[in-house]
């Protein structure tokens, strides 16, 4: 049992409810406990920094200080990529110099050492402990899922702050998906911007950003997109409808790619049902049906694989037996007086 301090973020009980539900389910299954930081507040996200950098550092630092008070030895987990980026940026800022730390302390007026570690959920599931636990618990491998792992911009950048995965071709989510039996596709938009808040300010031009993500995922053979950020998920899952409408007008085929949180798919692999995992409240209504369909296909594939493996083993055995027989015949041949030339 590993316990983390938990920073849910504002989307946890709204647009990101599926993320929260599925993460809860998976964590419970593999023995991870998330203890909510009492009185946590808004992380400030990118908006606070636009108002003032001080505000942008003060808001997350307050929650960091509260987490320290709760238990300084535990890392904080922030499932939302925006929260993760804001918290980690504030932490790195405070750790950079004594003056910075002093400045933050002055602003939040609390004891603060900038000592707690900040992690995102991908990091948590990338620990050897979590991976081992997942491996043991997986009951329904996702063999029919060809997923495009979409990390978004905030999880891996800026490199100086995040320092956890490759900024151009991150692998942590791919590894986790592979572990769950899915096939992560090789594609090029893992860390491209989804348009984030621009989708509300200038929706039409920003939709291109989402469209090209879908397009590249589809072109590279994915049948689903997987995310680790509530805002990315919402932008993709909610706005694909409008994009498809526009594409229909332009005579282009619609995208048929459900968007999932990686925890939802993990949950499926661990035997969770769509309702428990929150898959039933997606914007794209086909998600639960997709899951059912693919789970069935996966089971089939697994069955076929088992049969194929058995057949392969049988063949090998046969070949070995033949070889042994030949050897023996040869040995006898050598000993017989007429052997050799014939």
């Amino acid at each position: 049992m590993t316990t983390y301090s938990y920073f849910p973020g504002c989307s946890a009980n709204s647009t990101g409810i599926s993320y929260t539900k599925s993460a809860d389910f998976v964590c419970k299954k593999i023995g991870i406990e998330l203890e909510e930081i009492p009185e946590w507040c808004c992380c400030g996200t990118s908006a606070a920094k636009l108002t003032s950098y001080d505000l942008g550092y003060a808001l997350p630092s307050r929650s960091l200080a509260l987490a320290e008070k709760l238990d300084a030895s535990r890392p904080i987990v922030a499932p939302c990529a925006g929260c993760y980026a804001a918290l980690k940026d504030a932490l790195v800022y405070a750790q950079a110099s004594k003056e910075n730390l002093e400045h933050v302390r002055d602003m939040i007026n609390m004891p603060y050492e900038a000592s707690v570690q900040v992690m995102n959920l991908l990091e948590v599931f990338s620990t050897q402990e979590a991976k081992d636990a997942l491996q043991q618990q997986i009951t329904k491998p996702l063999s029919a899922f060809k997923v495009a792992c979409y990390y978004g911009c905030a999880l891996v950048r800026p490199v100086e702050v995040c320092k956890f995965d490759d900024p151009e071709d991150p692998q942590s989510m791919d590894t986790i998906m592979r572990l769950a039996g899915a096939e992560p596709i090789d594609w090029s938009f893992k860390t491209e911007c989804c348009g984030a808040a621009q989708q509300m300010a200038v929706p039409k031009p920003s939709r291109v950003l989402i469209e090209r993500i879908f397009q590249n995922a589809e072109a590279n053979g994915a049948n689903a997109i997987v995310t680790a950020c509530p805002l990315c998920w919402m932008n993709l899952d909610m706005r694909v409808k409008a994009i498809n409408k526009e594409r229909a007008e332009a005579g282009k085929p619609a995208f048929d790619l459900p968007v999932f949180f990686f925890t939802e798919l993990l949950g499926v692999a661990l035997g969770g049902d769509a309702k428990t995992l929150g898959i039933d409240v997606h914007f794209q209504p086909g998600a639960p049906a997709f899951i059912d369909q693919k789970v069935k296909e996966s089971a089939q594939i697994e069955e076929e694989r088992k049969l194929a493996a058995a057949e392969e083993a049988r063949k090998l055995e046969e070949r070995a037996a033949k070889l042994a027989a030949k050897k023996q015949a040869k040995a006898e041949d050598v000993h017989s007086p007429q052997g050799g030339e014939q």
């Binding site: 151009e168 071709d169 090029s188 590249n216 072109a219 590279n220």
Partner: protein
Amino acid sequence: MSRIGVFICYCGSNIAGTVDVEKVAEVARTLPNVVHAETNKYTCSDPGQAGVKAAIEKYNIDRVVMGTCSPRMHELTWRKLLADTPVNPYMLEVANLREQCSWVHKDKEVGTAKAIDLIKMAVAKVDKLSPLKSTQIPVTKRALVVGGGIAGMQAALDIADAGYQVTVVERETSLGGKMVMLDKTFPTMDCSACICTPKMSEVGSHPNITVKSYAEVESVEGYVGNFDVTIREKAKYIDYNLCTGCGACTTKCPTKVINNFEQGMSARPAIYKMFAQAVPAKPVIDAEHCRKIQENKCGACAKICPTGAIHYDDEDKVTTERYGAIVLTTGYQLIDWKPLYPEYGGGKYPDVITGLQFERLVNASGPTEGHILRPSDGKEPKNVVIIKCVGSRDPHKGVAYCSRACCMYGAKHAHQFLDKVPDGRCFVFYMDVRTPGKGYDEFYMNTLQDGAQYLRGRVSKIYKEGDRLVCLGEDTLTSAQIRIEADMVVLETAMVPAEGVDKLGSMLGVTRDKDLWLTEAHAKLRPVETNTAGVFLAGVAQGPKDIPDTVCQAGAAASKVIGLLNHDHLESNPQISRVNEALCQGDGACVNICPYHAITLVQKQFRENSQKITRTVASVNPGLCQGCGACTVTCRAGAMDLLGYTNESLMREVDALCQW
């Protein structure tokens, strides 16, 4: 008892204007051991010099103080003068009465007082100097050229044509370097092979040139005129005396190995000639991939060889020979862009190629016989994107410098593509277009006329969609986001020094700059010399440059080598470090500090208290020591001293100036 002569110059009114020269001479006469002091209107003139000579003879002078202009101006003049007299040329001290006295002070009283002090200092110092003799260093009249690219070949030919023996050491199995891989050369578009391969055969057949291919320099000992160089020739497994170069063996070899000469775009057998016109025109066996050598199977090549030239038990040949001069022409390699640019696919997409790969694609003797076909599916690309400065001028990812040739060969690639694929489109992303050179800008303008579209900006991302490569970038002149669906992308990548040059440099005491380019002795005035006497450099080894500049520099290096080899002997600078072996502890602090590797520790026998003992002491190589004196200060025992600037003479000078 020394007999010092002091000669003070008026320098017209240059010195005399601010210094009472006669008064200085008068004071000089009173200084200890000064037997004579005189003044002269212009000491450096013929009558002035004659006067000095006469006085030396008349007063039996054995050391001299010249109170004249700066030693930087006339120290050598005075040395030459003294060489004609019984006085040793190094028993000389120049008091700088002009540049550092009369010209910087206006008050005559002040100037005179200072001049007297400067003379006192010089007299004190010269009193403690001892005669020095330069030694004669013999010159071995042979040169070694390291690297058989165009720079090395040019240098070797120039030196050999002057009548000296030259050995060319080439790491690859053939001469030619990078130039022979190129298709055409800008701006004249003459075929690279047509101008490079004749040079190769000229080098290969020159009576004064020995080519050691598939070989590397293993170690270097010695100094200018006398470098003992150990060269390792890797086992070729073929007796070149028997081999006729028929090539039958290469057709029978069953092994396929990635062909590096073709930039990995085709395969070659394990027994191979690097390319058709290779010099030496005989194959070698790549032992690492040969089945016979690795697993003792196959042996097809030996069976087919009509002359029995193949020996699987061949071994490396290590030879040590003496050379008088060394020319380093080690050239370059292209930067490994793959780990640096994951946004360009990091090597994931076979159709994102380097400029050198493009050269092979467009070359008639290349893997596609000159048809521009993309590596992934062999289709002819219609949209090609060329990205310049990949790795260059990008200190964040690659190197900070400009690789200098890429603007031109980028334009050449665009031109060649549009020439061979008339319905194709070519986009060139650039940061700047730098075309200084004869006919260069005209060439670039022609490429624009051909229809190449130049876009000022960088490509931020290349990704694959279907079978096309999408390039996202920006045209910074119009601030437009650019999205180009390309069939092939050519990266004009940065030049970086050839592998192993760092080791070679430290072996020879040749410094490398922060990017590991070999450093010339002076950026402007000694561009082909290095800090190690007798070692010269040419070509890209010194820094990125194009073929004309490389050939120029090779010729310059060759002329320096010829000038050196033209001497039977060299005179060494006698103002070098000297070890007092009685004091030396043999701790080697001086060995570590010497930038010229001039000091070594040796075992020497001594007689102490009528007993023979062996001690470790430092030994200075007079051919290598340049007389900087760093070792003298580092020696804890005070056993090191610098002749001409001895501790004692400098301390006397300090004493003298303290008395003012």
